[in-house]
């Protein structure tokens, strides 16, 4: 289970204020805190409050700050292709693009970029028409992502398909479709593409979000989820992921399995 820490994101107040004040401290604190908690990748997002033409410079600043104090690779999270490319240039190690959709124009833009920078790429199973209702429609869009990645020479282990979780209070029928989609996506190619999920979406505006998050995470892992963008500092969630990894026979059991999961 690859944990992508979601915390360095301008939508959080402390990060937004740090960006505005050019204060590196909160950024670097979160980089270290997430790494210590067991994150494998740090997601970096400038947030919507940064002006479009400033996004590339801010992205570069955030990536460099985070990697100054953490050895983890970064996921460059933006809807702005110029900001993404700036992040990729600044990143050390194998970076990740977050994300493209299955819209042809976007795939034509981001897939070659992933190939050029030897980056991993998240592909959302949606297009200009929005998020599909059923597992089959999600899988169909996932296939578009697989084909386009293949055409650009991106190996399947670098393509992370996100079947898109929606809040379970207002879009309850989507959760089982996401589970079914995960199973189908793992059968689209051999070797199979990787899968990921913006997990926290599933519990937006719900009560007891951590419970919903970790329950869904475990269910998704059983269906083939390889990674997730999560709150890496939610200890119960990371514990659940560690236990699920053992129960799926992905990690060899030992009494210190919670600790070894975090040490990798």
């Amino acid at each position: 289970m690859i944990i992508i820490g979601e915390r360095i994101n301008g939508m959080f107040v402390d990060i937004r204020e740090a960006i505005q004040a050019k204060d590196p401290k909160p950024i670097q604190e979160w980089a270290v805190k997430q790494e210590e908690a067991g994150a494998h990748i740090l997601d970096i997002n400038t947030g919507a409050s940064v002006m479009k033409d400033e996004q590339p410079a801010v992205m570069e600043w955030l990536v460099k700050l985070a990697q100054e104090v953490s050895k983890l690779p970064v996921a460059i999270d933006s809807t702005n292709p110029i900001a993404i490319e700036a992040g990729l240039k600044a990143a050390r190690g194998k970076a990740m693009i977050n994300s493209t959709t299955a819209e042809q124009a976007k795939m034509d833009l981001y897939m070659p970029m992933a190939a050029k920078y030897n980056a991993q790429i998240i592909g959302l199973a949606m297009n200009e028409k929005g998020v599909p209702k059923t597992a089959d429609d999600r899988a169909a869009l996932a296939m578009e992502l697989v084909v386009n990645a293949d055409m650009n020479g991106i190996p399947m282990q670098d393509l992370f398909i996100d079947p898109l979780a929606l809040p379970c209070n207002v879009a309850q029928e989507h959760a089982p479709e996401v589970l079914a989609a995960l199973r189908q996506i793992k059968m689209l190619a051999s070797p199979a593409p990787m899968t990921t999920l913006g997990l926290s979406n599933v519990s937006q505006r719900c009560t007891n979000r951590p419970l919903i998050n970790r329950t869904f995470l475990v269910m998704c892992m059983a269906c083939g989820l390889d990674s997730a963008i999560v709150d890496a500092n939610d200890n119960d969630l990371v514990d659940a992921a560690a236990a699920a990894n053992v129960l799926l026979n992905k990690d060899i059991y030992c009494d210190s399995y919670l600790k070894t999961f975090r040490q990798r």
Partner: protein, 316 residues
Amino acid sequence: MAVNIVKDSYKSKVVEITVGTEANAIKIGGDSTLPFLHFEGEMPNKQVLCLEVFDMVPEGWPENLTAAYEGVMSDPVAWAKKCVEYGADMVALRLMSAHPDNSDTSPEDAAKTAKAVADAISVPMIVVGCGVEEKDAKVLEAVAEALAGKTCILGNATNENFKSITGACMVYGHSVVSQSPLDINLAKQMNILMTEMGLPNERIVMDPLSGAVGYGIEYAYSIMERARLGALMGDKMLGNPVIAYVGQETWKAKESKASVEEFPEWGEQAKRSILWEVVTACTLAQAGAAIFVLRHPESLKQLRVHFAKMMESNAY
């Protein structure tokens, strides 16, 4: 259509352990592939072949085994020298006399023997206790101190006594054999606990306690294989070189000891016993074992030839 060579790519590798002092140091492990798959990774170090020395005359050995050590079996120093003559990469000294049912040798006296042997030979040493966990904790502490600076492998540390052995090895610079009874979960947990004490991971050798061919070798085989796969896929707490006490197991087997008169259908004992040792070692090498503690010099000779052949590159 052309044939595409399928090569697995692995994230990690087995840690490399160094034993012995500078000029005679040996490196063990470091593999970044499954055993002998030179086409998809590296096996930088060759298999280590050791011969065993007892600090007392062992009982129940068949004649073809005692014949190889005639005249030296009551003198561990002379015996160890003989092993080096036979071409052993390392000498494995077994302090059997420390067993309460034998002479119950004191830790100090056992350590003196170990020191005398170590000073007499040029190759690195493995020193193993008598198998009584409580006694071994004390004996190996004394041995660790007496052999300070020799960079040996000391064992066997078990779930019951690893703390004192690990502590002593940390202080005096030795590696430790971490022994677990055919249990990969316990093996992993032992490594975690030992590294948490501060022993570097590059100083742990794993012993999953294999049986001989015909005596449950398949259990250890699959555990070793699982550990190797885990190591290659990034599980650092299973990425340690594996030691196999081959001689200890095979020479217990009836097939190694019984005469041809007793079992005519089995053929000559002298030939059969060597093969039992050689085949057990070859099998465990395929599962990933790196250190082989043998008893008969003829087995060592045959394995040397076999391993040299297996270590020839099969890269495409």
